[in-house]
């Protein structure tokens, strides 16, 4: 019953939002040729833990918009192919989508490793392109028709870890040393670059600074070397399989620090939350959304309730906390840009991405000339009060306490890792 009420109220809210953004036209049954939106998505491989929930969120949006009268009065279809988490598959997928499937609009799959290989194909065809959780990908391409649904902001290499080091200033004693370790990949390299820059700004000495290659099996040499350097802070920049392996090595070898965490992709993923459970306590890590009262934007709760209802029926992950709200926002931004452009003319849609703001389930978004959020909104959360491996607890406030930015702060830092 609650789910039905929630769905209705969400539909009403979404309809009201559409009325506002489309100049007050009433929803009608969509008619005519469907508008086809194409993209790759990581439905298997290392990124599937975020890719599949993202796809589910976008499918929910398709249902929603078709129920609201469609896009430009036409029904919407989503065409996505599995990129298997491999960037090498991505150019072929977008070539097929644009040249063979003749899609009208394109969106990215999840993450920089998937977004970057799509960019040359999309740029060559002059398509507007909205990316999902890229890390400054357009810094290299400088494509004017792109936007990125990611809180990293315009200068990731400087600002990404600002929150981590700002929060660390609240430690007693104030930390003097940091160890930095991360995967040799685009996202992690930028995260580590930012950590070095912030360490310099906060006058913190870097006592260990190494990257590791993809496919590393044993992380004990890294953790032991960090242990040997005795840092006050430990900053990891890792992808899901490495995040788990690093935290296991930290536990086994008894590495302790005043604060440990960083740009670790992994704890956000539901399966890894279930795997690590209470071991996450006191970890301070980057995130994009946390179910805290300070982040309850219009439509957020309703989206999550709807997502969880559909996910439970489909046997998918049911938290929906990391990528799904952003994936829904990705297509909301596309919807609003197309509606404002009033056509499927790509240059007009691309131009709209850089005008005004967009109302989404993750709040109001504004993009700069490269399509990054005008201001960074990297969240730094600390896991607190996790007991066992039960997933339901992660839906509750107070489990992923937001420490940064100040505007969304929902609790206080607990010192020390591991939690005592």
């Amino acid at each position: 019953m609650t789910g039905i009420l929630a769905r209705h109220s969400f539909g009403a809210l979404a309809s009201a939002l559409m009325l506002l953004t489309s100049g007050g036209t009433l929803a009608q049954t969509p008619s005519g040729e469907p508008i086809r939106i194409g993209g790759s998505m990581s439905l298997s491989g290392g990124l599937a833990g975020s890719g599949r929930p993202s796809q589910l969120a976008q499918q929910i949006w398709v249902e929603d918009i078709n129920a609201r009268g469609g896009l430009l009065g036409r029904p919407v279809e989503l065409i996505q192919y599995d990129d298997q988490s491999a960037g090498a598959n991505v150019p072929g997928i977008y070539t097929k989508l644009i040249d063979v499937d003749k899609v009208d609009l394109v969106i990215s799959g999840y993450g920089t490793a998937i977004i970057a290989p799509a960019m040359p194909v999309v740029m060559q065809r002059g398509m507007a392109f909205i990316a999902l959780l890229g890390s400054g990908t357009n810094e290299m391409f400088r494509y004017p028709l792109a936007a990125n649904i990611s809180p990293v902001g315009p200068t990731m290499s400087e600002d990404f870890s600002k929150g981590f080091f700002t929060v660390a200033q609240g430690l007693d004693p104030v930390p003097k040393t940091v160890a930095i370790a991360g995967l040799d990949s685009d996202f992690s390299n930028r995260a580590m670059e930012s950590a070095r820059e912030q360490a310099r700004l906060f006058n913190i000495e870097v006592v260990y600074d190494r990257s590791y290659p993809p496919g590393t099996v044993d992380f004990s040499p890294i953790v032991r070397s960090i242990q040997s350097a005795k840092p006050d802070l430990v900053f990891f920049a890792s992808y899901p399989p490495d995040s788990v392996a690093l935290l296991k090595a930290v536990q086994e070898l008894g590495l302790e620090a005043q604060m440990l965490g960083g740009g670790m992709i992994g704890p956000q993923v539901t399966a890894i939350k279930a795997q690590l459970g209470a071991q996450l306590n006191n970890l301070v890590t980057w995130d994009v959304y946390a179910p805290e009262p300070t982040m309850d934007f219009p439509g957020t709760t309703e989206f999550l309730e709807r997502y969880r209802e559909v996910a439970a029926k489909q046997g998918a992950e049911t938290l929906g906390l990391y990528a799904p709200p952003l994936a829904y926002a990705q297509v909301q931004v596309l919807e609003q840009a197309v509606t404002r452009a009033g056509s499927l003319e790509q240059a007009a849609i691309g131009a709209e991405l850089h005008k005004g703001s967009f109302q989404t389930v993750i709040g109001e978004l504004t993009f700069d000339e490269l399509g990054e959020w005008a201001e960074e909104r990297n969240l730094w959360v600390q896991y607190q009060g996790i007991e066992g491996n039960e997933l339901e607890q992660f839906k509750l406030p107070g489990r992923q306490v937001i420490l940064y930015p100040e505007i969304y702060k929902s609790g206080e830092l607990r010192t020390g890792f591991p939690a005592k």
């Binding site: 491989g45 990257s211 044993d218 040499p221 399989p241 086994e252």
Partner: protein
């Protein structure tokens, strides 16, 4: 400044890692090194075993290493059947070189896709009672997550060596690697022996799968991480040398971890595979190669 304890720990953890590489490589050393069957699907089979072991453990609460022992016989039968297919369609027709390689490449893809279709793209893992704990011998720490699979690997390899040296069939397997036609003079069917040996190699993949899922979570594509390493270990050892495979795997693990500690983990693969290139340049038959004929 690197201290001696750090180096000692790097060597120790490298040996444990090397044991994992050894059990992952040993099956390939049998199929590739002794039977001339380039089974590049071997790591994928190891991952398949890991997935099945995760299912067995979730249903029964068994330890994954014990589950691996139980899974080894059915995997052996699977391997025997697989070799028969390979023999009938490729080896008997003299097409084992390129087409046989394509067969095993295709098999690898089929296994990975099947794993995704059945279990999805998420990682699978098994929680063990000893996970997260270490055995500390003075300043040397031995994570039980690495130690127990290493012991399991060494035990399985020891059993394999004893069987190859002491049993009639085992000696026939060693003989088929050297001169399959000579076996016929002893009224032994070399195809039957090769079927048994290939089955044995796949049974070793099951044991390796059990060790792997204790060490780290796996997904359908985890085999890719090991494909290069196991081929490198088998070639470094010298085709056909099983003790050499064990030693090469240990060297590979120690070099990886020592390099990671001294120069940084980014250099580990470069140094380890660089060693392989140097070996191929100066001793193309590998460290212990030469017996294979």
């Amino acid at each position: 400044m690197l201290d001696s304890f750090l180096i000692a720990n790097a060597v120790t953890s490298g040996l444990l890692l090397g044991c994992l590489y050894a059990i992952a490589s040993m099956g390939l050393a049998v199929s590739f090194g002794m039977l001339d069957v380039v089974n590049i699907a071997h790591p994928a089979m190891m991952v398949l075993a890991s997935f099945l072991i995760a299912v067995i453990c979730a249903a029964s609460g068994l330890d994954p290493l014990l589950a691996a022992v139980l899974l080894a016989p059915p995997f052996g039968l699977l391997g025997a059947g697989l070799y028969r297919v390979y023999y009938i369609f490729f080896e008997r027709r003299g097409q084992e070189a390129m087409q046989g390689l394509a067969f095993f490449f295709g098999l690898m893809i089929v296994i990975e896709v099947a794993l995704i279709l059945v279990w999805g793209g998420d990682q699978r893992w098994v929680e063990t009672a000893y996970g997260g704990h270490s055995l500390n011998l003075g300043p040397i720490g031995l994570p039980l997550r690495m130690l127990f699979p290493a012991l399991m690997a060494l035990a399985a390899i020891a059993v394999l060596f004893v069987w190859l040296r002491r049993s009639f069939t085992g000696r026939a397997v060693a003989a088929v690697a050297q001169d399959r036609e000579a076996l016929r003079f002893m009224a032994i069917n070399p195809i039957r022996i090769k079927t048994i040996a290939f089955g044995l190699s796949i049974a070793l993949a099951a044991i390796a799968g059990g060790c792997l899922i204790v060490v780290q979570p796996v997904d359908a594509h985890s085999g890719h991480i090991y494909l290069g390493r196991v081929l490198a270990v088998v070639i470094l050892a010298g085709l056909g040398s099983l003790p050499g495979t064990l030693i090469a795997a240990l060297i590979f693990g120690v070099i990886e971890n020592l390099t990671a500690t001294i120069f940084g983990p980014a250099w580990s693969p470069a140094v380890a595979f660089g060693l392989l290139l140097v070996m191929l340049a100066f001793r193309p038959q590998g460290m212990f190669g030469g017996a294979h004929g």
